[in-house]
Amino acid sequence: MDKRTNEEWIADLRAGGEPQAQALEDLRAIILRGLPYAIAGRIAPNSPESEALVEEIVQETLMRVLDNLDTFEGRSQFTTWAHKIAVRAALTELRRVRWREVPLPEMAMDEEGDASYREIPDNQASPEDQVDRKDMMKRINRIIMEELTEKQRMAMTATMEGFPLEEAAQRLGMNRNALYKLMHDARLRLKKRLEKEGLTPQQVLSVFERVGK
């Protein structure tokens, strides 16, 4: 029976015994229908790896659902809430597997600007645009070095390079939520510093966007 109301799901899962076992079995079947389809683009469906992952995730999800029943506020269908837990668990595991061998990227910008950047001419840009862009790049690099902590610079570089927040956070010894806050603080600092120097991000961006037009 997977047409329970939210209240029925909660009651059965709290009941223990047969009602709880049946509810868990039904929820397991629902997640097994939804999750493989949803992550099909990220892992080959029906492959042994996919089946093992889905089985592991479903078990983990059922445990988390039972542990977190009190946090369900009834603002969505219970099964959507359970799927949300399954999706996060699945993507966390997929990211971990994909990125586990990859070290956090180096900070590409240094205090002096990047020498290779200045030396390589960009044939698409006019000489004036090249000078503007180099000056702006150097100025932004300096602001980044002055305003951000090393952790913030590492986090920003990693995420700009496509590193998942979850994985970057783990390497930096924090959780994803804390990393987002750290980066939000970094973005605010940079934005305010630019404003203090009479620049808006849009103005700076326009210097880079002019190139090649």
Partner: protein, 102 residues
Amino acid sequence: MKIKQIFQWLLGSNKKKSSSPQNGMQADKSEMMQKVLTMLSNTQDVEMTCDEVFAVLDQFAELAARGEDVSRLMPLVQHHLDMCPDCQEEYKVLQRIVLNAV
């Protein structure tokens, strides 16, 4: 530089190819700077965190599946999803499930 090369190889399928190998590094740096500036431009004083968004993501996904204007109803959630690639990815996967169930 080796690490950078590994990274570029890993991300190769997602990144725009530069017009020539000679200015590849320059294009990457310029792209990176543009990404940073776009993020700064979109930064708000108050933003929801990943945990706060996760708490309402199921509700948000169902509202969106019903065709509601979620950007108006839950603007801070929408903004976080625009800024956070991890949460955005989780939302898109959840959305597939919800839409499939509707």
